[in-house]
Symmetry: C2
Subunit: 148 residues, 2 copies
DNA sequence: GACATACATTTGTATATACAAATATTGTTT
DNA sequence: AAACAATATTTGTATATACAAATGTATGTC
């Protein structure tokens, strides 16, 4: 990836600015690739992540606030995100009997099966994304990212 | 930044997945910080970038497609982005006399002045964002990012 | 010059997201 | 128990973005 070429500039940027632009460019690319991998399944990356969180609950229902806590990209509107999954019958939503303010969200078998397929597609995309990195470089990158 | 803590998971993730989640988390943070820095000026990061591109033209007008080429995050709708800047009198837009399909967009003096103020706010935010990095580490990060 | 094609931008529409206010339920105080 | 505050979610509204179709203009070919 050549930063200057992508944004068509010949100017020398301060290293600080260049780094931030670089981060944005990479992230755009990653988003595009992961969203493309999920496109055949008609779910967004956010929806996919919610499904994964629900699977990680192993049958224990999750309510909206815990879902939101565990999401990579926190949303202001998890209700409507779950609505989308509900419409696809990937999850069920019930009022929590012990505390009727809460809702209990569970992944369905249909959701689990679909998720397994998505997993494969996403794992493939992920491997492709990091194909130029070796283990050491990935660790180095993680260490550097921690400085943000 | 502790990835596991932020998404409240105790599970050990594969390094590849962890890296991508890490990238997303950092990028969310960077977006938040830069958008916050621009909030007092009532412009989005996208609008700010368009203004910077226009300034870089040094009086030479830019049309929509060149704007789009040079944007860090390519938008499908630069027309409406420019509309927002137009409404604030930060730019002017005219039909190109030599080729009436094109438009010529220029930054106004009001836009330039506002941009100078935004620059300060953003430079401050940028410095704060990279404050834990030294020059060598920034270079290392840029090298690693190129592998994506 | 009529016709098809390519180009640059605009518009329409659907979906996504941010933010604030509204609703419903529970817990606490007096 | 009435009043108030706290919690969890939902709804309303404004804005952002993606994608496709429509519009207007220019260019090349017969």
């Amino acid at each position: 990836m050549n930063v200057e070429e992508i944004i068509k500039t010949s100017k020398k940027m301060p290293l600080e600015s260049r780094t931030l632009i670089h981060m944005t460019l990479v992230n755009n690319k990653l988003n595009e690739l992961t969203n493309n991998a999920l496109k055949p399944f008609d779910v967004s990356l956010q929806q996919f992540n919610v499904l994964r969180i629900l699977r990680g609950q192993h049958g224990k229902p999750a309510n909206l606030s815990t879902l939101n806590d565990r999401m990579v990209t926190k949303m202001s509107n998890t209700t409507r995100l779950v609505d989308k999954l509900l419409a696809k019958d990937y999850v069920v939503r019930n009022v929590c009997p012990s505390n009727r303010r809460k809702v209990e969200i569970l992944i369905t078998e249909k959701g689990s099966n679909a998720l397994s397929e998505m997993d494969k597609a996403l794992a493939e995309a992920e491997n492709d994304i990091v194909k130029n990195f070796n283990k050491e470089e990935l660790e180095q990158l993680n260490t550097l990212l921690d400085k943000f």
